[in-house]
Symmetry: C2
């Protein structure tokens, strides 16, 4: 059985990579001093969310892995003796980029590399232009704090991704995230959008008996040429949900913040004893999950 | 595009089969008179929830399909010109019983037979004694009110079941249900249990862009020999959730009631245009869903 303090670093980002990196390091140091053993950063924490428009110059933001960015996070994990979940824009080859999540263990080793599998493409979130869909599959990696699964943002909407990560043995699934409102949404559908986002992830927690953590960025990021508005309001509200579906911690919607929660594997054990959903899965009947759809004539 | 009124008949059941049947017919007539085009009954509506203990005499409650019970529901559907979703205890052969959900179209035809795929077995819910796991797979049937999927109670906890039913083209997934609190739960974990039950189904609605409806029984059913208490409080609170994850209707927790909701396929269309989760499914990466688990040495 293990029990530890998780910290989500809900951040605002500027155009200055060094400023973002230094802020992440400073918040991580504060979290570690407060006793956190696992620290999760928001999606693509080294820059503003650059996918708001399609601009080939923005591939300059990408970096190789291993490289200067990943090595700097590795040193931080080792220095603080904590697990760090870090999201980077990976340049794998010329013309081949990924949205990649790295898990560093508390000795600085990098046992986990996950490349975002589900790539969105919506007004203001033109990720299909930048990111090749991941080829890592779904993973839970052994760390000094137990088995940790990582998925990224749009993966949040896919029960298959959560299930497959849980079947790898994850105690917790952490989602570095960048989600917000277009100015045109914030007044109308905005509340429903936020509620749906939390609801689908509560579903993953209950269905799988795992902790779910989403670490979002926060604040307004200007993008004057974005259609439908002049930028995105990232809605913060990073959260942690326990294996019973209870929302045990939520951050504010407009401020930078370190959000803490206790992760207790005994709660996973007890929840799954009483609600043994894994026991009754009808694995003989699920093969159709790999179909695109079952309507239509071919 | 179609738009219709759905009615869920949240009922209490007695030991008198005829009384239960007559009550269901009466409530269905009221719902049809109020304009309902699809009517859903609770799980096993012709008797108390008999699985509270394991008693071989209770197989006497089962019936063949087609048979007197199914034919009586068929006549009701035709008389009222409505679709009826009906849950029966099916005797398929000596020693072979199912928890079966039948969909009757408004002409009395029976286009849908679904046998509960996921069978629970928990204190007070000894279903593995009574029900052979279903062999129908997941279905959405064409009715005069559009494509309707049916699943049953414990299936509610399985994202695979909801996904596979949605991929069959369902606009709505209806769950006849029998869920409640043991007296020992009601004071402590009861609220969390209810919340988790609703949360996992909100997740199905959001992930699949479908309506979700759960029709539960309500009220206390005595079972003096049940360990841990003297019966079950069925918690009612039947609900309808729209494709955006909004809870659009909820019944009371302690009274019989007809719960109505408008089902509008245009809302499915618009939700899926803005949140096109089906577009981005990574069907090349989901084959591991048919594994039991991925830990262990074999």
């Amino acid at each position: 059985m293990s029990c530890y303090k998780l910290a989500l670093l809900q951040m605002k980002m500027s155009d200055d990579r060094e400023e973002n990196f230094a802020k992440a390091e400073s918040m991580a140091r504060e979290a570690a001093a407060a006793g956190a053993k696992v620290i999760c950063l928001p999606e693509l924490f080294l820059s503003p969310y650059f996918c708001k428009i399609e601009d080939p110059d923005r591939f300059d933001l990408a970096e190789e892995i291993p490289g200067e960015g990943s090595e700097r996070v590795s040193r931080l994990a080792k220095e603080l003796n904590v697990v760090i979940i870090s999201s980077l824009f990976e340049k794998r080859a010329r013309g081949l980029y990924h949205n990649t999540c790295l898990t560093f263990d508390s000795d600085g080793a990098m046992p986990g590399v996950y490349r975002k599998m589900h790539i969105p493409d919506d007004p203001g979130y033109y990720e299909k232009f930048y990111f090749t869909p991941g080829d890592t599959g779904y993973k839970a990696v052994d760390t000094s704090a137990g088995k940790i699964g990582t998925l990224v943002c749009w993966d949040q909407w896919y029960p298959e991704a959560a299930r497959l990560t849980a079947l790898e043995g994850a105690d917790i699934i952490c989602y570095p995230t960048a989600i917000g409102w277009l100015p045109s949404d914030a007044e109308g559908l905005g509340k429903d959008q936020h509620q749906a986002w939390q609801a689908v992830q509560r579903g993953h927690a209950v269905a799988n008996g795992v902790y779910i953590a989403a670490c979002n960025r926060v604040g307004f990021e200007a993008e004057p040429s974005l259609k439908g508005g002049e930028g995105i309001y990232f809605w913060g509200q990073s959260f942690v949900i326990d294996p019973f579906g209870r929302v045990v911690a939520v951050a504010s919607k407009d401020a930078e913040e370190i959000l803490y929660a206790e992760i207790d594997s005994e709660i996973i054990e007890q929840t799954r004893r009483w609600w043994p959903f894994l026991r009754d899965r009808r694995i003989d009947s699920y093969s159709g999950i790999v179909n695109r759809h079952n309507l239509g004539c071919f």
